[in-house]
């Protein structure tokens, strides 16, 4: 991008100015298509805003009233927890599966492959229902001990696997299958020379993976992981099916109380939109952090963009702020 290094152009300009031919002032190509499409879009946008503002069925006064209702806020809290724990399981599991998949050990390799095959091959909704009914599968108590031998302690299945933990397990274990593919692509994107250089310094496999390969793989892993997190925030609404009172379920219950559907769907949508926005912003900064060392100029933060526009308004050479903050 040319705007990445405005200082260079600014430095040369004055010296060359005297002998330079006049700058080109050409008539731009006419693009009537752009004007037409802009006009059409503008009409649609106006219609949409008109509907939002004046269609009584949206019930904006109700939206304002119920946005922070305690049941809704509690639902938001549960949604965030579901998303967080499921993603933790997904990411940790995904890294483990990816490392297993790429290891030289054929047993762990096929185990990881089989896992991914199963969890990607069945709908997450079915997996949710399955985990919710886990007691029917393993019996009403879970014993820990030697396989096929004596057991040391027992847990009651139905109190251990609550609806919430069933949802976290189902969403997380399903996510791990997808994350493993993302992490695997990231690991494969790191040049083999990196592993060799580290090995030649006497580092061992696990340490090479942790300190050399994974940090570099992050650059490839982060963007799709951000997408997965945003997607998980919304997929977690499926947990309402097994009776977890998260945001969607909380809105549903409000609808049954007040017999007004649209305002509560608007409330839920506003909350989902709010958090996806927050996550997108977080993703931008994490990507920036892991891009350090990979390119000379990091993309500017919105604040830096603002600073730069200001400076150029004042007709001073803009500085390359990006270069000074790679840490």
């Amino acid at each position: 991008m040319s705007e990445n290094n405005p200082a260079a152009g600014a430095d040369e300009a004055p010296a060359a100015a005297e002998s330079r031919p006049a700058a080109i002032r050409a008539v731009p190509v006419r693009r009537p298509g752009r004007w037409i499409s802009a006009a059409v879009l503008l009409v649609f946008a106006a219609m949409f805003v008109n509907m939002l503002l004046f269609n009584k069925n949206f019930g904006w006064d109700l939206v304002r009233k119920w946005l922070f209702w305690h049941t809704i806020v509690h639902g938001v809290w549960i949604t965030l927890q579901l998303t967080f724990f499921a993603m933790v399981i997904g990411i940790v599991g995904g890294v483990l599966l990816a490392v297993m998949r790429l290891s030289t050990n054929p047993v762990s390799g096929s185990a990881a492959w089989a896992y991914t095959w199963f969890f990607r091959g069945t709908p997450v909704l079915v997996q949710l229902l399955f985990w919710n009914n886990i007691a029917a599968l393993v019996g009403s108590d879970i014993g820990f001990g030697i396989p096929f031998g004596p057991q040391f302690f027992h847990l009651d299945t139905n109190s251990t696997i609550t609806r919430f933990s069933a949802a976290v397990l189902a969403l997380g274990l399903n996510e791990a299958a997808y994350m493993s593919e993302i992490v695997r692509a990231g690991i494969l994107s790191v040049d083999e020379g990196q592993t060799e250089a580290a090995a030649s310094l006497g580092m061992r496999r696990a340490k090479i993976t942790r300190r050399i390969v994974l940090p570099q793989a992050m650059r490839v892993i982060i963007p799709p992981t951000g997408n997965e997190t945003i997607s998980m925030l919304k997929t977690s609404s499926l947990a309402s099916v097994i009776g977890v009172v998260e945001l969607t379920d909380a809105s549903e219950s409000a609808i049954h109380l007040y017999f007004k559907a649209i305002p509560f769907y608007v409330v839920a949508s506003l909350w989902y939109l709010f958090f996806t926005t927050i996550l997108s912003i977080g993703q931008f900064y994490i990507e920036r952090y892991y891009a350090r060392g990979s390119s000379r100029n990091l993309p500017p933060t919105p604040f830096q963009k603002l600073m730069r526009t200001n400076l150029s308004f004042r007709r001073r050479p803009a500085f390359t702020a990006a270069r000074e903050v790679p840490r």
Partner: protein, 264 residues
């Protein structure tokens, strides 16, 4: 220091012994019976056409590649295997790593860790492998960076350095493990011509300090001036081997003569 091996500096002592080594990739026989001896403080240069197996031989010395037959020992210890009761036992990953500590390697494409600054590249192995404290490692790393002429670049990331500077950081990184043997795989081949000199100067300095080195190179000037011996490889075997100046000035084998005529 934690160095596992203290070089004697005695030029009569054998540092690397390569005996009748064979190596193939699938059906491709890359090394077909290579033997070579490198003594302490000696600079052995490997020359030869592309694809003749130079890199492969070098990579066998620190067990980045496994050999199919023959044996390689460094400082009297077999590389990659234990010998017990007349049988070879594959070395555990841990012991291979330990063996590599004393063997530094410099790659054609530098292979610096791009997510770490020059200084962080240099202290990575001392802190992570030798368990040195960060402060001690940094103090020593600064000396090594100074030795390669880059004390002012400690905080730079590899992408902010020229190729020549990156390669010198890579040399400092290898030296930080206090190796007793250094392997160089065409260290200047990826560099712009004007940057080659700085890297060769550092290597010459190392040689003068008594480092044992095996250098794969196309820099015939360096081989003649700094090298003690030259081995000319072609088709997976060492075709000619001897005193550096003698091989380069009066090659005996016709294939060596043809190769040298081409590179000059």
């Amino acid at each position: 220091m934690t160095a596992d091996y203290i070089p004697s500096g005695n030029r009569n002592q054998v540092a690397v012994e390569i005996e009748d080594v064979y190596k193939s990739f699938g059906r491709l026989e890359v090394l077909q019976g290579v033997s070579m001896t490198v003594r302490e403080a000696e600079v052995a240069c490997l020359i030869g056409p592309s694809g003749s197996g130079k890199s492969t031989l070098l990579r066998c010395v620190n067990h980045l590649e496994k050999i199919d037959a023959g044996r390689i020992s460094v400082h009297g210890k077999l590389v990659g295997y234990h010998e017990r009761g007349g049988r070879l036992h594959e070395m555990h990953d841990r012991d291979v790593a330990r063996q590599r500590r004393t063997i530094g390697m410099v790659f054609q494409r530098f292979n610096l860790f791009p997510h770490k600054t020059a200084l962080e590249n240099v202290i990575e192995a001392p802190t992570q492998v030798l368990g040195m404290s960060r402060e001690a490692a940094i103090a020593e790393a600064r000396e090594h960076l100074e030795m390669v002429g880059l004390s002012d670049k400690a905080g730079s990331y590899p992408t902010q350095l020229s190729g020549g500077q990156q390669q010198r950081v890579a040399i400092a990184r290898a030296l930080a493990m206090r190796p007793a043997l250094m392997l160089f795989d065409e260290p200047t081949s990826a560099l712009d011509p004007e940057l080659v000199g700085d890297v060769l100067a550092v290597m010459r300095q190392l040689a003068e300090a008594g480092m044992t080195m095996i250098v794969v190179t196309h820099e015939m000037g360096f081989a003649r001036d700094v090298g003690d011996t030259v081995a000319f490889m072609d088709g997976g075997v060492i075709v000619e081997y001897g005193d550096a100046r003698r091989v380069l000035a009066e090659p005996e084998h016709p294939r060596t003569q043809a190769f040298l005529a081409k590179v000059r």
